[in-house]
Amino acid sequence: MAQLVKDFLNGLWKENPTFRAVIGICSALAVTTAGQNGIAMGLALTFVLTCSSILVSLLRNIIPSKVRIPCYIIVIATFTTIVDLFMKAYFPPLYQVLGIFIPLIVVNCIVLWRAEGFASKASLPRAIADALGMGLGYTWAITLISLVREVLGSGTLFGINVMGGATHWVIMMLPPGAFLVMGILVGIMNMISRKPVKKTHCH
């Protein structure tokens, strides 16, 4: 049990995919213009990550190691398409905002990183704990980025006016704002944990 809690917390902070491992950045920068986008994107990724990890962990003794990557890719692509279809059917406005970044979950490094690096060697409960931790770690991270950009860019929090029109810095809504906010937040996380990330997990 202690092990499961540790696996779960690992993704939330110590190896947080966005701020500590710095992977899967594309969607973290692209869709983070409003709080609800961050939450929706995060939950979509958490779903794909958890389902894929469950299958990869269950099939870990069946899949021959030489074809494991193609197998993982098919599994991940299947769950990504399911999310894509269900979002299109039930949340069309959100689907329109997140656009191409929902199908792009299939190449999000976080998913393959956890499938290949953790779930393929772990028991089912541990794989689930890890996937949920990583998914929710990603979710809070990009929601934070979204909220910073939303407050500074349009003066609102989840669409509610909080700044009384004091901040309407358009640059925060544009690509440069995404990079700057991300850089500063990674810096702040480095200060909090007193251990700067020197390199990313991605190639």
Partner: protein, 195 residues
């Protein structure tokens, strides 16, 4: 006709640069932009794969997915599998044909499958309704834009090695801030080409 192709190139390389404005391909952008030499190699390899993917995506979309009505639920699976196999094929072919070329950029090939810029281009082509030539140019432009971003960044990072960066910002953090400044510069290209 030629004018349209020219605009596609200008648009993908400068105005809507895939790294700075479309937010695609950030993993290699952070990972292999330490040295200019590796950046050029990675850029070349990606451009090559992107151009081929664009052609492949066009054919799959218009001759298999669309005629049989499979787009909504098999597009993602088929594109990712085609990209993965294409990268493998290119790697084997390059190794066979020219070991020298393989040494120059072959080692980057396996990393390209999970580069979201490739999948992004494949998904954008049907959305934009491009024909075969336009698709090819779109893929090529995306690759050139990616190479440009990577080489610019690597040049700056080589200098950054010698500068006094605050402790907390060392590593990816300062790269993001630099990328933010570069993205501002690229905003200046807005309006250069009608989409």
């Amino acid at each position: 006709m030629l004018k349209d192709l020219f605009f596609i190139i200008v648009s993908t390389v400068l105005v809507n640069n895939f790294v700075f404005s479309r937010f695609l391909g950030h993993c290699p952008f952070l990972g292999v932009s330490n040295k200019t030499e590796t950046a050029v190699g990675m850029g070349m390899a990606t451009t090559f794969v992107l151009t081929m993917t664009a052609v492949a995506a066009y054919f799959i979309q218009s001759f298999i997915l669309e005629p049989f009505g499979l787009t909504p639920f098999l597009q993602i699976v088929s594109f990712i599998l085609v990209i993965a196999s294409l990268v493998q094929l290119v790697e084997m072919a390059v190794l066979k044909i020219s070991p020298a070329l393989y040494n120059a950029f072959g080692i980057y090939l396996p990393l390209i499958t999970t580069n979201c810029i490739v999948m992004g281009v494949a998904l954008l082509i049907p959305q934009k309704g491009y024909n075969l030539i336009e698709s090819t140019i779109f893929g090529l432009g995306a690759g050139l834009g990616f190479t440009l971003a990577l080489v610019l960044m690597s040049g700056i990072r080589e200098e950054l090695e010698f500068s006094d960066v605050p402790e907390a910002l060392k590593g990816p953090a300062i790269v993001f801030i630099t990328a933010g400044l570069l993205a501002m510069i690229f905003l200046g290209f807005t309006g250069l080409a009608p989409l």
